[in-house]
Symmetry: D2
Subunit: 299 residues, 4 copies
C-alpha cells in the first residue's frame, strides 16, 4: 500500500517572531537614512540589515529596506507604525512593514506543464520558501493527485471560450482578499485585467524566454528559428502589457545548433524552475520594490 | 483520499528500435575513421552522428562514438558485431555497441537528502532520462512513500558499524548482475571496494563541491571557511580514491560573504541536482569514455 | 624616448603545413561519412578530427567538417580536390577545402570605440588568432598610432552624408579581391548592400546586445529602460536585414538595478570583446557553416 | 613614423570632489546604524549609499560602508574625523575614511605574461580604474616599451638567486611610503615577508586557478591532469600562506576534454584579466573589508 510521502523534516529555522521588515521609497534628499535609523533605534528596533539604492543623488528616487528585531513585536510594532507616519510624511515616503513570522499566502496557477509547480512544492517542503501555499488553481485536473499529496487544496476550474467569464469569477472568488501573491507557474491563459488591478505587483509570471526577446507564444520555437546560442527564462510581475511587466529575475543557458525545439524546452525547464522559485522567494521575503516598470532587488 | 500521482504523459519519443551506438578507444593511427565508417556502411548502418577525439595526432589515443540506424536490428546487429572483431583487432580497439531501445537499469542509493533523488525521478517521469529506475536503496526509510508513489521498489537496508558487512552483502545481492548503473544520489556511506570492482566506471557519485577543492566531508563548511566566491558540485565515477575518480561534469554558482553555510547548502542543492542528472543522462546515452582517470564526453 | 612595443614571443606553434580542413554540406542520406572518409584515406589523408551534424535523419541537411594531414600538401591537395568532385557530385555536396597554413586576410573596420579592436590585436599578437590582419579601416583617425604601432596599415576614410558614395568606393577598392574576412569591430556605419553581396557570410559584426533583443541603435539604453537583469553581446554575419544575420556566438553577464547605462556599457565592453574574438577565431579556423540564416559551429 | 598612441578621451566623469567613503568594522550591537547615520547627518554629510553586513545578530561582527557627500570637503572632513572618534570608541570600531578624489597609487608587478598588465592599462586608460598607476616593476625588461608608451615609469629589477636580497631592497625603496596598493599581475616571484607586513591587505595577486583547487605552481597543468570540466582564476590578498589569503573574486569558464594545457592557458587568460581588474577596481573604490581571512565585498 502506498504511504503518503512524509517530506524530510526541514532543518530548524531561526526564530522569526521578533523579526520585521520595512520597505520605503521616496524622493531622495539628505537625512533619510539618519532619520529612519534614529527613529528605529529610539523605538527599540535592532537593525539587522539595511540596503539602499539611490537612482541619482540629485533629485532621483531613494529606496531602502530594513530588517530589524523587536523584543515584543505585538506591543511595539503598532506603536512604531503609528509613530512612523510623522517621519514618512516629512519625506513623502511610500512605506510598508512586514512581520517575518506572518507567512504570505500564495495561490499557484498552473496548466499542463508541471515542472515549475513541482519546483515550488519541493522548495516549500524543504523549508526554502517561507510562505503558505494556500491553493493550486488549474484549468486542468492533471495535477490534483500531486498537489493533494502535499496536503494543498486543488481547484480545477476549466476554461473554455464559453465558460471564461464564469471561470474568472470563480477564480476571483477563490483568491480575493485571501491571497497575497499569485504565481503563474506556466499558466497558459491570459490574466484578466481585473486580476491585475486587484493584485498590482502581486502576480508573478514565468516567461520561457530571455525577455524582451521572444515575447508571446512559443518562445522556444522562436528561439530555434532565430538560431540563438543562449536561451533563457524571465520572471516578471504581470501588467497589462503582455510579457512587458517589471523583470524580477532572468537566467540563461548555452545551447548549440544541435539542440532542436524539444531540447530547448528540456533545457529551458531547468532555467524556468530556478528563476521562478528565486523570484517567488524574493517576493515573500519582501526584497522587491517596483518603480517605473523596473524592480529594485535587495537580495 | 489521496490519489496516486499520475505524471503527465511524456511527449511521444522518437522510435529508438533502429538506433544503435558504438564506442571505440584505440591507439591513434591513420585510417581508423575510414575503416570503421566503411565497415558500418557495408553492413547497412546509416551513420546518424559521429564524434571523435584524438589526444595527440602522433601516438596518442583515439576515441570515437557513432550513432547509427539499422533497419533490422535483431538480425543485423549480431552479424555486425561478429564481423567487427576483424576491424577491432587490426586497430587494437576496445569497443562496445549499445541498442538505444535497451534501457539501462539503474539503482539509486540515497540517505536522507532527497533533492538529487527527486530530480532524477522527475526527469525520468518527464521522459528526459531514457532508463529504467529499477530500485532505490537507502540506509533510511524516509523516502519509501515518495519512491513507491512512483511505482519503484524501495529497499531499506540500515547500515550500522555492526551491520555493515551484512548490509553490504544484501546490497550486492540486490544489484549484482541486475543493474547497469549505480547512482549515489547523496548517499552518505563509503562504497566498499567490492562494488567498485564489480561496477568499474558504472557508479556515479555527486560530490557537493567543485572538486578537487574540498574533498571529503562537509564541503560546504569547508567552502564557507575558505571564503570562496563561487561554489560548485561535481559528478564523477567512483574509484578507490575518495572523491578522486574521473570527473563527468561540474557546475558552479556565485555566492557572497552574506551566504552562511545553510545558504550554501540551499544554493548547492540546485547545482547538485542539475549536475548529477546531466551525468546520468550522458552515461545512459553512452556518451562517456574513460581514459587515465579522465572522461571524454561526447555530448 | 618611446620604444615601439615588441610583443612577447608567441609560443612555438605546431607545424600547420601538413594540415587541411574540409567543410561539406549536402542533403542527408546513407553512406556520406563512409564515402568521404574512405576517399580521404585512399588519398593519403590522415583524419585528425571530424565533426558532423544531421538536421534530421530523414531528409534534412547534413554538415561535416574534417581536419586531416597530408604529407605532401602541394602535390597531394590539388589531386584530392580534383578527384573529390566525383564524390561531391554523387551526394550533391557544397564543399570547400582550406590549408591551415594559408592565413586568412582580415580587414577590421572600426569607428571610435577601441576595445574590440584592441582585443583582436592583442589576441593576434599573442598568437591566438592565426590570421593576417591586413588593414584597419576607420571613419576616424583616432586609432592610427595604436594600429601602426602593431605594424598594420591604417586607412582613414571619413564618411559624411556627402562623401559617402566616394568613401564606399575607396573602401571597396581596399578590400575587393584582397581580403577574406571583414570584421566590424564596433563600426558605426551601415554596410552597403554591395559589400554584403561581395562578402557573403564573410562580414562579422558585433552587436552590443543579446539579439534578438534590442535590435538597432543604443541597445544599452534600451536594456536599461527595460530593466533587464542580464545583458549580452552577439557576433553575427552581416546580411541585408539589420542585426538579423546568422548568429555565431553570444555571451551574457548579470547586472542589477544599480547599473546605470554607463555601467552597462563598461560591463558590456568585456562581453563584446570576448564574443567577437571567439567568432573571428572560429571563422578563421573554418569552424562555421551557414544554413537558412543559422550557423553550425564545429568548435 | 610611429605616432604615440593617444587613447580615446575617457568620458566625462562625475565630479568626485565632494564624495567620501567610510568603512567600519566592530562587534555587532544595537544602535550602530542609527548612531553613525545620525552623526553623519549632523555633520552635514549626505549619505548617498550604505551597505552593511552582520555576521550574526547576536555577538558577531558588524561591517558597514558609507558613501557620502560633503559640500566643503577640506573644511568639514577633518572635523568629522575628529568628532567621530567619540562614536568609534563607544562601539569599539575600526574605521577609515577615504576621499574619492584622492586617487590610490598603484604599483604593478609583472614578469613575462602581459595579459593582466594590458587589461589593467586598458581599463585605466578607458577611465574604468579611477587610480594612479604610479609604476610598473618587473624582473624582465620585455614590457618597457608598452608601459612607457602609456607614460608610466618602468623599473626593471632583475631577480636571481644571488641578487634577490638586493632586488628586494630596491623594490621596497620604490614602493615604501609611496604606494597604496601593489598588484601582482602574474608576477612569478615569491613576495618577501617584509612586503606583506608593510602592505597588509594591500597586495592583490591573481592566481590562475579556482582556489583552493590547484595551489602553487603550474595550475593549468594540474587542472588538465585532474580532468576538471571548469577552470577558473582567483584574485586574493597576499598573506604568508601561499595562495591562502582572503579571496576577493573568482570566475570560471567551462572546458572540455578537447582542451589541452595550451588551450586552458589561453581560455584562462581571459578569466584572469577580468577577475584581477574587478578586484583592483573594488579595492580602489574602498569596497573591500577583511575579517578572519575572508573578504566582505560591498559592490
Amino acid at each position: 500500500m502506498q504511504q503518503p510521502y512524509q517530506p524530510q523534516q526541514s532543518q530548524q529555522r531561526s526564530d522569526t517572531s521578533k523579526r520585521a521588515r520595512m520597505l520605503i521609497s521616496c524622493p531622495d534628499r539628505p537625512g533619510i537614512v539618519a532619520a529612519v535609523s534614529h527613529f528605529l533605534h529610539e523605538h527599540g528596533a535592532n537593525i539587522v540589515q539595511s540596503d539602499q539604492y539611490t537612482m541619482d543623488p540629485e533629485g532621483g528616487m531613494f529606496f531602502i529596506r530594513f530588517e530589524f528585531d523587536l523584543n515584543d513585536m505585538e506591543r511595539e510594532l503598532p506603536i512604531l507604525q503609528e509613530d512612523f507616519t510623522r517621519v514618512a510624511d516629512r519625506f513623502e515616503m511610500k512605506w510598508h512593514t512586514f512581520r517575518a513570522s506572518r507567512k504570505k499566502r500564495i495561490a499557484i496557477f498552473v496548466s499542463k506543464e508541471d515542472h515549475c509547480l513541482l519546483e515550488l512544492l519541493w522548495q516549500w517542503q524543504a523549508g526554502d520558501l517561507d510562505a503558505e501555499i494556500a491553493m493550486v488553481v488549474s484549468n486542468h485536473n492533471d495535477m490534483r493527485g500531486l498537489v493533494e499529496g502535499f496536503g494543498i487544496p486543488y481547484h480545477h476550474i476549466p476554461v473554455t471560450a464559453d465558460s471564461k467569464p464564469e471561470a474568472e469569477r470563480k477564480q476571483m472568488e477563490l483568491v480575493a482578499d485571501k491571497i497575497d501573491l499569485i504565481v503563474l507557474a506556466r499558466y497558459m491563459q491570459i490574466i484578466p485585467q481585473k486580476f491585475i488591478e486587484q493584485f498590482p505587483n502581486r502576480i508573478i509570471n514565468i516567461h520561457h524566454s530571455f525577455l524582451p526577446a521572444f515575447v508571446g507564444g512559443k518562445p522556444y520555437h522562436q528561439a530555434y528559428q532565430r538560431g540563438v546560442k543562449i536561451i533563457g527564462a524571465t520572471a516578471h510581475y504581470v501588467t497589462e502589457e503582455l510579457d512587458g511587466g517589471p523583470i524580477i529575475d532572468q537566467d540563461v543557458q548555452r545551447v548549440t545548433h544541435r539542440d532542436n525545439v524539444d531540447n530547448l524546452k528540456r533545457i529551458g525547464r531547468t532555467i524556468e524552475r530556478v528563476v521562478l522559485a528565486r523570484a517567488v522567494k524574493w517576493h515573500i521575503e519582501d526584497r522587491l520594490l517596483v518603480h517605473q516598470n523596473k524592480t529594485v532587488v535587495f537580495n
